[in-house]
Symmetry: D2
Subunit: 371 residues, 4 copies
């Protein structure tokens, strides 16, 4: 693991997720750039002092010496470090689990995509919300045509935690609001891109154009903390996307509605164990993990019966579990990878460009509208 | 009453609403352009044959002869007739209750606004959804500053009933999809304008600019059946608006969320007896009609105690009741009037213009972007 | 109308209900035993002074003089007056709409049942909650066997409004807590009997035995304000019933769940426009008034399309409308009548008896366990 | 671990729970009485062949030989084995985590309680549902007096999974329906006792008397599959308890409502991340894990921020985590222990006795109403 020192939230989540199904063991890490904090974290986690490294270069060098050196590296640092670290890990022959956003721009993303192909290694991008079984079920219902041709997709990711200017001691907030470490996108890159990925994942359609407005609700911030966007999908559907980190009353409000000609569905992350499916020709249905129609891949991610709620950690762990399955030979096509990361960076770039251009529809593309 | 012959939905709703509080009596009408249907409706409603008129001109002429002729005319016809009828009624000294959209364009709307001012009569535009007590309470909470400065407004009005090409016998659908009778806006004019009005009503801010995409989901339709729009408000808030009549699973899904710096609120028409208020610094609250903070005007619209659900008809009746109060001297400032109608027509015009102009932000204005 | 003077709640509700469908006209009344209040109420309601009577005897005598005298009398007084008034009205040839509980004991109830049979007149007992279309739909789903053999019925009616000792000026509370006017049952007679009736209505089974505990939560009250009961039904189902008027947070919480071998359903009065149906072999369904399976009788009670919420007043009005239909020749078998009232009084008697006898199972019967 | 061979549900849940916070290591086990299945399970779990034992006696003997032998034994077998195993483990100086119901009768329970006291070891009874942070928060709100004096407690645990006679191959169902392995209580002992414990846990009051009816909905079963009960609490509150395993549409429906003179609260296991608190003098509140009033002990059981749902496994793991804390010196008073088990057995005995005695109120006591 790189990153995830004491006090960091997401590193701990990765560690629980890795442990849950007993398929991974934490053997080495570079947890913090502060030596003391690095060592203390290692000790707390039972990582041998000798395998607690000063930085990722040292980690890759050190682990190369071990016969049973780390096989997979989890990158859980601030955004600007994802790209160089992932590149180095791949080149060193490691599989990579990487936090999002994958890189700071489309160019880097494309370079990384090529590096993944060259390396023959697995690259998992931590769009963890697609680990929820009912998200995967939603995707399958769409793919099987149970909604008919899609008409519109409405996705939102709304939080309250940056509603006020945070205190200087809030480590989580600090780097997310600093362009040097977060990139040119604030809320857009932090959570907007999750919403974007969820919309593509369930709809099975890629976004082709965006018309957007970014704005900053809290005075003094350099980066956007709100995103309002209209979407067009390559498959003909239209969409709307709302992301916000300054909306009181919303804790972690990621939700989606998909409307097709025959039925619509909706799912919300805060009540992840129910999926609402409403056909035109019958009553609305509340699907749960006991649904008869669950596919085999989806069922692999269910640890306990319906009615026993599963949550964020289980969904997160499903990406680790699927990577383990994949490494052992069962291909897991739903796992978010480097191409999803490229799409995400294209989305960020196009959204920034549209917002600057008075909301004009802007295509998602490889070149020309880089942030 | 003009319009509302047998088989029409909204005319019957107006009649129940007018009767509910025993403040109005139906004394005359021109219910249908088909003579037989006109007479049959009158008979069913207990309207004297002599006061069942062939058209609105005859009605105004006939009622002028009666010492106790009709004082208020309710106009419940297809859209294209609202303007000439309202104008004639006002000139004949009648108060008017008019269905929305008020007119077919901004010019007509402005003419009507002047006519209302000249006439000294009351003009109520049937934005009936603001008749719900908790909608009015929401407006008051915003006005009192309980949300702080507003950041964003998210409103939607989503239906399923036009999800498929309707049969030829569907009278409701037929005129709404016919540009000659509905105007240049389909879903936008039919329900989008309700959503727009609700957003302005609760936020207390007028929309200044719109960036929109209209589209038609069902092949063969001439008018839009879906609206996706981004909004900017004069007071600084931003917004999103979704209207659709082709979304399976949505019966009459009008709902709104208003986000301020201190709190957010949400309300949905299908569960109108609860208003959710979520402050940044405390738990989310479920407000009902028993809330201590209800203003006196709001309380007038409540007929039965909390826990005894009130619905669509009661909210609708509140506009009739408020008009009666107003005519008896208690000013009812919340009643939607001709200025709201002008705003609505400006919104329709700007939305059509923005959609044609690749989603560019387009100001709501008196001239220049007429439909 | 007898009762329903200014300040009374339920009288006004009856009047709106009677007016809603324009099938009844209020022509006479004895609204209050206080002459001034009686006259003021009549004037406010537009009832001719000459037909505003000092008491019900005067009303019956006076109306007998009119060629078009009142045909139906609505009795909306405190409980102890229901019996003598209803008896007199029936003997005078009037149809009767009577508030519940019907009488103060089983004997009176049986006498009244005989009087109804002798008179050939209609007697409607105001178990208004069965006027909700989805309650009637629930009953039909059970009757058609969609739940299979019933296993259990769970009904509750929980309120908060008597949570504290009410002030002396609370007219509603005062008579309900006074044994002389309310009878020996407090909460049991006021709302418990509604829950009991709803359970019998939907299940289609009569309660045969009860095991109960009555208790008084607020010190100083003579009558019960809480009911906990276990039920046995003649058809083999078991049940539980909770009624309370001292439970903070419950406004008018009447709800029911019915469990069968093939499916269960649940409905709650505060969200009356949805009925939840959960089969063993498929996903849970949310039924609304648009459900395809609605019977014709149920559909008569629907005034506006699904998604436009109907509430308490509409459900209440459905009993008036059904009486009008019935009087015009369309038999309305679901209307609660005098036999339901007899059952209710048997339930009250048996519940009081069981509570006094340490919770022993006690049969509902005609004699022997009178309150 | 004793029990929990391949195919068993609850053993796997214990293992995930033990692993989640990295405070326990699985070092030995006797997973099945079938030697092949026992060994296969051990291998799958990475337990050394030498520490995979034929039965619990062998396990205790074998581990005594190890310098770092197992310190804690988790007992996850069918009910009838809990008592002898727990006794032996305690005598061998092990701490015990035991599934419920603790024993088959009150006598055994009391013997076990004495054995725990004698041993000086920790005994955790797996009433896992109190591991949910918001259940603990509910308990604290009651204890702090925020509800005032309690009036009533309504608890239910309703499932559908035994709605039909299960096939012979359903290992879970088979032993639960067999008196020899499950004891004299079916649904009552399996889930009724969870509901009972939850009611005592949150209310802070012990149940003193019960009036109950047990019944069997599915023909051919020897044990109850449904429980209807009225409760009296030592502190003056009354209650109702419903448990069922034959109710279609209920997956794992454990829920509770607690009514006090000042407020009520409700919580449901299927949506465990919200707690509803409704005061008499203000709007209903939806509390989440972000609530300001959370106590320090409660907060220890929260791994991720509000809005990121936690579920069944996390709550389960909280009992393991609390045991670890406790063993390391931080006393965890909320952990369910042997006295809760004694209470549970008293409840089972009294409920069986009351049901046989026509529902008469029956005290919970040490002797005299043994099953």
């Amino acid at each position: 693991m790189v990153g995830g020192g004491q006090g960091a939230l997401i590193g701990g989540v990765h560690r629980i997720a890795a442990r849950m199904d007993d398929r991974f063991e934490l053997v080495a890490g570079s947890f913090s750039s502060q030596p003391e904090r690095n060592r203390a974290t290692a000790r707390e986690l039972g990582v041998n002092d000798a395998r607690c490294y000063a930085d990722y270069q040292a980690l890759l060098a050190g682990e190369a010496e071990h016969e049973d050196g780390a096989e997979v590296v989890a990158i859980v640092t601030p955004n600007h470090l994802h790209f160089p670290m992932a590149l180095a890990c791949l080149e060193a022959g490691k599989h990579v689990i990487c936090e999002k956003p994958m890189t700071l721009g489309v160019d880097e993303a494309q370079q990384l995509a090529q590096a993944v192909k060259r390396s023959g290694r697995r690259f998992v991008l931590m769009h963890n919300y697609v680990g929820y079984p009912l998200v995967q079920h939603a995707r399958e219902l769409v793919a099987r045509g149970e909604l008919g041709r899609l008409r519109s997709v409405h996705v939102e990711y709304v939080q309250e935690w940056l509603s006020e200017a945070p205190g200087a001691d809030n480590r989580q907030a600090a780097w997310r609001l600093d362009p040097a470490r977060a990139g040119s996108a604030g809320c857009l890159g932090d959570i907007g891109v999750h919403a974007f990925h969820l919309a593509q994942f369930i709809s099975g359609q890629r976004v082709s154009e965006v018309s957007a407005e970014l704005f900053t609700a809290v005075a003094g911030r350099e980066l956007d903390d709100n995103v309002h966007a209209l979407l067009r999908f390559a498959g003909g559907a239209r969409g709307m996307l709302w992301a916000s980190q300054t909306s009181p009353g919303f804790e972690n409000g990621l939700s989606i509605r998909v409307v097709g000609e025959k039925a619509s569905l909706r799912w919300a992350q805060e009540t992840p164990n129910e999926l609402h499916f409403a056909p035109l020709d019958g009553p609305a249905q509340r699907l749960t993990r006991r649904d008869d129609r669950l596919g085999a891949d989806v069922a692999r991610g269910i640890r306990i019966p319906g009615g026993h709620p599963e949550g964020f950690l289980e969904a997160f762990a499903n990406l680790y579990q699927a990577l383990a399955d994949d490494l052992e030979g069962t291909e897991m096509t739903w796992l978010p990878g480097v191409d999803d990361g490229v799409d995400g960076m294209r989305f960020i770039a196009a959204t920034l460009a549209s917002s600057r251009a008075a909301g004009t529809w802007t295509p998602l593309q490889d070149k020309g509208n880089q942030p």
